[in-house]
Amino acid sequence: MASRLGLETKDVVELELDGKKAKGAIWIQAGHPDHSVTITLGYGRTRAGRVGTGQGFDAYAFRTTAHLWTASGLQIRKTGDIYELASTQGMQSMETPNGATRPLVREATLEEYKKNPNFAHEEEPEVPREFTLYPNFLYEEQKYAWGMAIDLNKCVGCNNCILACQSENNIAVVGHEQTLLGRHMHWIRIDVYYEGDRDNPKAYFQPVPCMQCENAPCEVVCPVGATSHTTEGLNDMVYNRCVGTRYCSNNCPYKVRRFNFLLFQDWETLQYKMMRNPDVSVRSRGVMEKCTYCVQRISERRIDTERASVIEGKEIKIGDELQTACQQSCPADAIIFGNVNDPNSAVSKWKAQSRNYSLLGELNTRPRTTYLAEVKNPNPELES
């Protein structure tokens, strides 16, 4: 419908329904039913603080008791204006403009999975662990080796993990202008990929936190050593050592590292001290930050178990009760975190599945965050 009307994403149109008008920018959504427009309630607020005031238009103008959720007879007029809609994602397709496809989200139908359970590993060249000049660190001998698995079958792209992470880790909201430049600070993000026919696409959701790579490309390029590896497998970010060269972000193939280009945090408003998590620092300008596998929770739990071990006289280890913020908030239980050195932990069992694969594994980053590929069982009658 958009191409029929000669509209593109970001064009500002005027909507008119039963005499009520509003202007807003459009976003062309793949798979959206034809001849229809979806408008979102909740925008156009006049008293919503620094970031929320004046964003979008008030859709309640169109909402009446007779038409609470749907209405017909909407008119759309092109105004000729453009409004820069801020999106946090670059491209929403795994197919690049030169026609090649990157296997970022791997999926198969149930039939394909039954025939070839290893479908998620077909493309990967196996890089042996010995393929390195440096001696391998024996993570398997440590008490803990933190890892995460994300089941792409379960993720519905609700964004809860992003919000939970932001609240847990005092992540700044940067606003419209900075997001347009790509400077949003989300430590975990959900990548959305569309595939197939525009009117009936398949949508894939992939939450991307820091992969905590064992062979982290970011660590070797930091000139001051502000990012280093712990014995338990975490890629530590040392904020007070970071001078902000941003080489680590350039070298991260997953682009999970976010930089404080300006002072994004509000140091002035005293009430924010109540909002913020006291276990996590508030970063100032010029430092890099990224997902830490909620290291503050790991440390807190470690202290508790060590104390309990002393009190009870036997070793108590951290188990599956330790959850990262994203895992805790996920309504679909798509994220699991835990100790991969413990074969009985939930994360070890997930990673043992044949669906388990590493994103961009061919780069030999050896990420601790892995994904369980999607297996769909579509109704053949719906497909056609």
């Binding site: 397709s93 690049t96 990157r102 930091c222 001051v224 001078v243 997953y254 682009k255 994103l359």
Partner: protein
């Protein structure tokens, strides 16, 4: 030259120094620019513009320190923008001066004698301009000194596996050696100026700078030893400094960066742009200050030949990158090539090919190699092309890498431009001061080119 080769179509080799000069005329001509020739309005206007540009740069840097690197166009995924492009561009330009001073000295190429002084000055000022960028482009520039390995109370050393650390060593070594080489070479000329001036205060200043040079045989012996040693130290730097700078990219995993062609390709590109800058300076200087007898067409032609040769090496670099985009079978490299040719920055990539490969091929034509105007314009085109090359390498590789969800764009802001043109202004300001206060051509080395200088047994 043997008689049998002379014919009406044979072209005589252009002399390195115009005939008819004596020790006296050479010394007089060069030192007059500093001591007796008054500064013209043109100098003041040029200096004034360059000075204003320098002030603009200081303003831009001040605002940068106040607000943060967010005032520039850098973002995620393009974490490096104009600042690193300019850093590499300036460092590359500096390499020609060191090549002329050091390598041509060791190769006994006497034609270097008239251009090595201001070429080495160009190197120093280019390195000064370059050195600004790594310090200011970091997020917390007040802590940039942490990149230096000094013993500290935190008991932390820098992380030596990082190419940025290697940059620290390479560039500071380069700046030190260039400064020593340049200053050491100036000592006999400072003494000449000290002896020729009549004003007391100028005599004192040049006298202090000349460190008591008497021109005795012992002084000259020590001088020649020092000069050869420094030339020997500086020669590997011509290759190593830009190699280390290229490692900033080659060590990264970004497609378009991670390639072994970078070290020789960068070094060749550095000499390419460096000679272009030498020509862009030499041609106006010789015209305005009447130095055509010393900076002859021979120098311009030789520089043009060096540019042609290094330009072909750079063209090979482009070719091999394109070839590897296909031959490697790697989907990311293949896309990087496609993106350069067809993506949002394709216009700049095609301009790059025009500026760096196609247009400079006119240097094959002897007539254009001997035309100062043509050389000036072509050098300008090459400098623009080399800047575009660094832009393509830094920005266009970063903006579309592995995950399509991370793809973004880089748009330079006014602060990026102000800082960049400001460094050009600072460079020109320093050159203007250099021309006014120091002998732009090495007086004693020019004297060695004269027939009188030959030692008769």
């Amino acid at each position: 030259m043997p008689e049998q080769y002379k014919s009406s179509t044979e072209i005589q080799p252009t002399p390195v120094i115009a005939p008819g000069h004596t020790f006296g005329t050479v010394t007089e001509k060069i030192s007059a620019i500093v001591l007796t020739r008054p500064a013209t309005n043109g100098w003041f206007i040029g200096f004034g513009i360059a000075f204003m540009a320098t002030m603009m740069m200081l303003y831009a840097i001040g605002y940068l320190f106040l607000k943060g690197t967010g005032i520039w166009g850098v973002t995620i995924p393009v974490g490096w923008g104009f600042a690193i492009v300019n850093f590499v561009w300036w460092i590359g330009i500096g390499h020609a001066g060191t090549l002329i001073s050091a390598i041509l000295l060791l190769l006994r190429q006497s034609w270097r004698n008239s251009i090595n002084r201001f070429a080495e000055a160009m190197t120093l000022f280019a390195v000064a301009a370059a050195g600004i960028f790594p310090a200011i482009h970091v997020g917390r520039p007040w802590l940039a000194y942490w990149l230096f390995p000094y013993p500290n109370t935190m008991r932390v050393w820098p992380q030596f596996r990082s190419p940025l650390m290697w940059d620290v060593f390479a560039v500071s070594t380069y700046a030190t050696i260039s400064a020593l080489f340049w200053f050491g070479g100036l000592i006999p000329d400072f003494a000449t100026l000290r002896d020729r001036t009549e004003k007391r205060w100028i005599k004192v200043i040049y006298g202090m700078l000349s460190f008591g040079w008497r021109g005795s045989a012992r002084h000259w012996h020590r001088y020649e030893t020092m000069y050869l040693l420094l030339a020997g130290l500086a020669t590997p730097l011509v290759l190593s400094v830009h190699t280390v700078v290229s490692f900033d990219f080659a060590i990264g995993i970004v497609p378009g960066w991670h390639t072994t062609i970078f070290p020789p390709y960068f070094v060749a590109g550095a000499i390419y742009s460096g000679f272009a800058m030498v020509l862009m300076l030499a041609i106006p200087i010789r015209k305005i200050y009447g130095l055509e007898d010393f900076i002859t067409l021979r120098h311009l032609q030789n520089s043009a030949k060096v540019m042609l040769a290094t330009g072909l090496i750079v063209a090979y670099g482009y070719g091999i990158e394109a070839f590897m985009g296909w031959y490697s079978g790697d989907r990311y490299d293949a896309f990087t090539l496609w993106n350069r040719l067809h993506g949002p920055y394709a216009f700049w990539y095609h301009s790059l090919l025009a500026c760096n490969i196609f247009i400079p091929q006119v240097l094959w034509i002897r007539k254009l190699r001997s035309s100062p105007l043509a050389l000036f314009l072509i050098s300008g085109v090459i400098l623009i092309g080399m800047w575009l090359e660094r832009f393509i390498i830094v920005v266009v590789s970063l903006h579309r890498d592995f995950l399509t969800s991370s793809w973004g764009m880089y748009y330079a802001t006014r602060w990026d431009y102000m800082t960049y043109f400001g460094t050009i202004g600072m460079f020109l300001m320093l050159m203007f001061l250099f021309l006014r206060l120091l002998p732009a051509i090495s007086i004693f080395e020019m004297r060695t080119l004269l027939p009188e200088a030959e030692v008769k047994e």
